[in-house]
């Protein structure tokens, strides 16, 4: 019995197998690459609902006669036993004008706690036209036991908002920041726990 002529040993496989292994490794990398790609895609299109721009100074705004309804939504993650709600559930605002929205958070427990609010805008593409100059979500919020605080958001909607968007919802969820909790507990000067975070934690 002879070794089949069409199989010339292992060399014929080595090249192909090397390519296939490389493909598998590349696809493993691609899985991770999807993470930055997704973020870039969402930043460009606003599709994650997190494309809100942050400016220090609004400057002179382009005005518009159009008004739009903004709904304000407030949620608390189950790990943070706070009460949190919007003062007004909705408001009609003119495009291209600065507005203020007020949220109220209250810590009903007997210990100091640190929370971080994360925002989301629906419909997501509207987030590209949403501009904030100041927001309680830019920083960690420290609430002493039983403390209640009003938290403002200063924002405007750009005048070039597409016609088909009739209504925008601005939603916040407060999450607990346990590592900052410890700092706040050990430190009387609560401001030291207020690490200034960018609008979007990277």
């Amino acid at each position: 019995m002879n070794q089949p002529e069409h199989i010339e040993g292992r060399n014929i496989h080595r090249k192909l197998v090397r390519k296939l292994v490389l493909l598998a490794v590349a696809m493993f990398g691609f899985g991770f690459a999807l993470w930055p790609l997704y973020n870039v895609f969402c930043d460009l299109t606003g599709l994650g609902g997190r494309g809100v721009q942050v400016v220090e100074n609004a400057g002179v705004l382009e005005q518009s006669a159009r008004q739009i309804k903004i709904r304000f939504d407030a949620n608390v993650n189950s790990s943070l036993p706070w009460e949190f709600e919007a003062k007004e559930k909705a408001a009609m605002v003119p495009l291209g004008e600065m507005n203020e929205a007020l949220y109220v958070a209250m810590n009903p427990t007997d210990t100091v706690m640190v929370g971080q609010a994360i925002y989301n805008v629906t419909p997501p593409e509207a987030s590209l036209y949403f501009v904030k100059t100041e927001c309680f979500c830019f920083t960690l919020q420290v609430l002493q036991a039983k403390e209640s605080r009003e938290m403002p958001v200063y924002y405007f909607i750009q005048a070039d908002l597409p016609e088909y968007i009739k209504e925008i919802t601005l939603s916040y969820t407060f999450f607990r920041n346990t590592s900052a909790d410890a700092v706040a507990l050990s430190d009387d000067e609560t401001s030291s726990a207020r690490t200034v975070l960018k609008d979007r934690p990277k």
């Binding site: 019995m1 002879n2 070794q3 089949p4 002529e5 069409h6 199989i7 010339e8 040993g9 060399n11 014929i12 496989h13 192909l16 197998v17 296939l20 292994v21 493909l23 598998a24 490794v25 696809m27 493993f28 990398g29 691609f30 899985g31 991770f32 999807l34 993470w35 997704y38 969402c42 599709l47 994650g48 609902g49 997190r50 993650n77 971080q116 994360i118 629906t122 419909p123 997501p124 593409e125 969820t173 999450f175 607990r176 920041n177 979007r200 934690p201 990277k202």
Partner: protein, 542 residues
């Protein structure tokens, strides 16, 4: 130099024609494609019954409204484990087992291209599934967030989550190595004259499946690795509090998940395309159309993933794109179904058990395909999403789809593997019981879903009671019928005295039928001579 090597090798082979002696040498250290194929098939059968037992627990709990048998958390562990075990433990290893047994014999190769890698890819699996199953006995219990492992729910489990992730890594490594082996075998080891467009369709569908596996299993490995670091190392890939996005997991998961469902079904298309021509005694209608249809389905599977997540809040353009792309898949799939029907058209059909299962496959898989089209409609999917309609849909394509094709293939090649005929009478009883009960089991679930019953919930509102009871009764009959399958296999392997000829079915074409039944331990050491009488798809029969 290579000549010298081959000569030595050939010399060694002269004395190695017999099976290795001793249990460990024969099975643990085996590099023989037939032995490894058998091991894969046994593992798949065991896992089929383990996953099936979990399904029985699920259907028993859902027999009546209210909580009777199990705690809700355990119920969730059962739905999750049932899916993981059936997908990764039963159907995928079963197809790799078929590939190991049949591909070398179908293309005239002496073995798989990388026999030692082959041994390794099998022997990883028992450890992976032991590790996965062991989580059921840990303090924090098994995975309970569904097989899709969506965060944040999947991250709220306990420490056993790490075991789940590592077992998925091991299954992935095994699948990738198996796929590399299949591709190397098919591309490098075909007998002279076995051109690509002369290969049996089962070989073609597996070649394409293997590429899908290499492309997406690493993506799943990446996704679960990110879950692992989110859970244990405070990364925030999917954690909204840290700037991540849980929806992104769904995108990554379904980028893997949609090709994955074709990994489960494409080899089934191949098997059915082998069986129907044999028992219709006609060449397969539209051979090259079948090949191109398979390739188109594989390509389209990469651009439809978001139809699993129409409810996450996608923009309209996204919903439309994924809706149309999904519906496009119906075209190549329709080509396949019509080709199978055309192959049967005016054929001299006989209805042995493999043919019964193949016809059952064509009919019932088509029902599952049609409910898939309904789910593809983005606007109505908002109602169907995460209801029993989805459960009915994917069980129709997986149970009377993939699993029936596996059973058809088992009955078709079992006489070839063992050298004995199975009991045709019991095979037919198995088919009819399965085919009837699978419909009693899954058809009412369409109505439950349309009426709004959510999936993965152990209790339900009383208006769903009647259909659930019918479904559970069907489930118990289906579960019991599979014991007949086990009985038929055991009888065929150990008890049957009816010798099978080399060409078991007189209408069967293809190289595997030119070998004796059972085939010699080392087959095609000399490449076979290929002519139009031995291959199923000679040129000119397109």
């Amino acid at each position: 130099m290579s000549n010298e090597n081959t000569h030595k090798h050939a010399h060694a082979h002269d004395h190695h024609d017999d099976k290795p002696t001793g249990f460990l040498n024969r099975w643990l250290f085996t590099t023989n494609h037939k032995d490894i194929g058998t091991l894969y098939l046994i593992l798949a059968l065991v896992m089929f019954f383990v996953g099936g037992a979990m399904a029985m627990i699920i259907r028993a709990e859902l027999f009546m409204p209210g909580l009777q048998l199990v705690e809700p958390d355990f119920f969730n562990q059962m739905t999750t484990m049932h899916a993981l075990i059936m997908v990764f433990g039963a159907v995928m290893p079963a197809w790799v087992g078929f590939a190991n047994w049949m591909i070398p014999m179908m293309i005239g190769a002496p073995d798989m291209a990388l026999p030692r890698l082959n041994n390794w890819s099998f022997w990883i699996l028992p450890f992976a599934f032991t590790m996965l199953a062991s989580t059921l006995f840990m303090d924090s219990g098994g995975p309970a967030a569904g097989w899709t492992l969506y965060p944040p729910l999947s991250l709220q489990g306990g420490q056993s989550f790490a075991f789940v992730v590592f077992s998925i890594h091991m299954m992935g490594i095994s699948s990738i190595m198996g796929a590399i082996n299949v591709i190397a075998t098919i591309l490098n080891m075909r007998a002279p004259g076995m051109g690509l467009l002369r290969m049996p369709l089962f070989v073609w569908t597996w070649l394409i499946t293997a590429f899908l596996l290499i492309a997406v299993m690493p993506v799943l490995a990446g996704a679960v690795t990110m879950l692992l670091t989110d859970h244990f190392f405070a990364t925030s890939f999917f954690n909204a509090a840290g700037g991540g996005d849980p929806v992104m997991f769904q995108h990554i998961f379904w980028f893997f998940g949609h090709p994955e469902v074709y990994i489960l079904i494409l080899p089934a298309f191949g098997v059915v395309s082998e069986i129907i021509p044999t028992f219709a005694r006609k060449p397969l209608f539209g051979y090259s159309a079948m090949v191109y249809a398979t390739a188109s389905i594989a390509f389209l599977s990469f651009i439809v993933w978001a139809h699993h997540m129409f409810t996450v809040g996608m923009p309209l353009t996204g919903e439309l794109f994924f809706m149309y792309a999904t519906m496009l898949i119906a075209i190549p799939t329709g080509v396949k179904v019509f080709n199978w029907v055309s192959t049967m058209w005016k054929g001299s059909m006989t209805f042995e058990t493999p043919m019964l299962f193949a016809i059952g496959f064509v009919v019932l898989f088509t029902i599952g395909g049609l409910s898939g089209l309904m789910l593809a409609i983005a606007s109505v999917d908002l109602q169907y999403h995460d209801t029993y309609f989805v459960v009915a849909h994917f069980h129709y394509v997986l149970v009377p789809g993939s699993v029936f094709a596996l059973m058809a293939g088992t009955y078709y090649w079992l006489p070839k593997w063992t050298g004995h005929m199975y009991s045709e009478k019991w095979g037919k009883i198995h088919f009819w019981l399965s085919a009837i009960s699978v419909n009693i089991l899954f058809f009412p679930q369409h109505y439950l879903g349309l009426a709004g019953m959510p999936r993965r919930i152990p209790d339900y509102s009383t208006q769903f009671a009647d259909f659930n009871m019918i479904s559970s009764i069907g489930g118990f009959i289906f579960g019991a019928s599979q014991l007949i399958f086990l009985g038929v296999i055991i009888h065929c392997v150990y008890k049957s005295r009816v010798k099978a000829p080399g060409r078991v079915w007189e209408g069967a074409k293809g190289l595997e039928w030119t070998l004796s039944s059972p085939p010699p331990y080392h087959s095609f050491n000399t490449p076979p001579v290929i002519d139009s009488t031995t291959v199923a798809h000679a040129e000119g029969t397109h």
